[in-house]
Symmetry: C2
Subunit: 199 residues, 2 copies
Amino acid sequence: MGLRERKKQKTRIALIDAALDLFLTHGYDITTVDQIAAAVDVSPRTFFRYFASKEEVVLSPCHDGQEIFESELAARPADESPYQAVTGAMRTALATMRDGDPATVDRFVKVGRLMEETPSLIAAQMCLIAQGERRLAEEVARRRGTGVDDLHTQFVVSLLTTINRVLMEHGPDDLSLLLERMERILAVAERCLRPGWDR
Amino acid sequence: MGLRERKKQKTRIALIDAALDLFLTHGYDITTVDQIAAAVDVSPRTFFRYFASKEEVVLSPCHDGQEIFESELAARPADESPYQAVTGAMRTALATMRDGDPATVDRFVKVGRLMEETPSLIAAQMCLIAQGERRLAEEVARRRGTGVDDLHTQFVVSLLTTINRVLMEHGPDDLSLLLERMERILAVAERCLRPGWDR
DNA sequence: TAACTTATGTCACCTCATGACAGATGACAA
DNA sequence: TTGTCATCTGTCATGAGGTGACATAAGTTA
C-alpha cells in the first residue's frame, strides 16, 4: 500500500474520530461539518469527498461491521439452515471484533452511545439495516431454494433482522456482554419458534 | 370548528396533495419546497409551519394511519394476547380505511408508490416505524404484564412490527389486496411460531 | 367597532451538499 | 533526479433545506 493510500486512511480515521468526539461532547445536531474539518485541519469540501453526508461518518463503523458479518455469513457451509448460518456468523463476527483492534471496538461503542441520544440518527441506522436486509434476503433465498419474493423467505429474513435489531437496541458498552445478551435473545427466539421454521 | 381551523385543514391537505403530485411526476429529490409552496400559493416559510421537513409531508398519511391503528389497538379487549390484539387492530384499521374517504386511500397509495422509487424516504419511514414500535412496546408490556425492557416482550414487539413491515414492503395499490396479503403473511407466521409465543 | 389572538409573508441567516477549476502532492518511468 | 501523469485537496460559487425575528393580515370575541 502506497503513501497516498495510507494518508487517505489516516485522514478518514481522523475524521471519524474527530466527528465522534465532537458529536459526543457537543451533540450531533449542533456540531457542524466545518468544525469536524477544522479539527482534522482539512477543508470542509474534503470532508464530503470522504463521506457523502454528515450521517455517513457516524454510520461508517456500522457499515464496516455489516461487511464483516456478511463475509462471515458467506463463508458458512451451504447445508446450514438460514438461522444456523446467521447466528453462527454473528457469533464469530462479534468474537473476531472483540479480539481485534481495540480502537475499532471503541468507535463502535461511541456510535452506540451516540445513537441512544440522537433520534435523527436512528433513521439513518434503520436505512442501513434495511439495505443489509435486502442482501440477507438473497442469501436466505439461496439457502431455502426460493426467490427473494417468497413470502416465507421474507418472513425468515425479517425475523433474523429482528433478532439483530433487538440485540443492538441497547448500545454495546462491552462486546463480551453483547455476546452474552445475544445468547439470551436466541434462547427466547428458540422458545417461541417451531423447529425448522427457517427451512 | 371555526373558519380559521377549516382554512388550516384545507391548506394542509392542499400542501400534501401538491407535494405528492409534484414528487410523483418530477421526483422527490428534484422537487423543491419552493415549488410545492408556489403550487398552493403559499410562502415557503408557511410550508415549514405545517411540516417540519420535506419528508414529513410525505410521511403524514402514514402517521395518520399509525394513529388509526393505535386507537383501534387501544380499544381491543384487555384479555386478548398481543398477537390477537395487534392483528385484530390491523384488520379493522385497514377495513375502516378501505370503506372510508377515497381521497385518503388515494394519498396512501401515492405515498406507497413514492416510497418504492425513493430510497431516501425509506429511512424516514423506518424512523416512523421505530417510533411506533416504542409505543407498541408499552401496549405489549401491559398485556404481557412485564416491563418494556423484558427481553421476551421486546422480541414479541419486534416480531409484530416485522409482520407489519413485510406487509408494507410492497406498496398498497389496493387495500383489499393488502388485506388479503396480510392474511397470507399471518398464515406463514402462525406456521412458524409456537402457540402462545406472545403470552 | 375595538381589542385580541393567531396565521402568514418578508427578510436575514445558517448548515448541508455539490460542481468547477486550479494548485499541490504522490506514483511511476526514463 | 527529473518529468509526466494521475489523483487528492483547497478555494470559490451556488443552491436547497431549515429557522428566528418581526411586521402585517386575517379570524375571533366582546
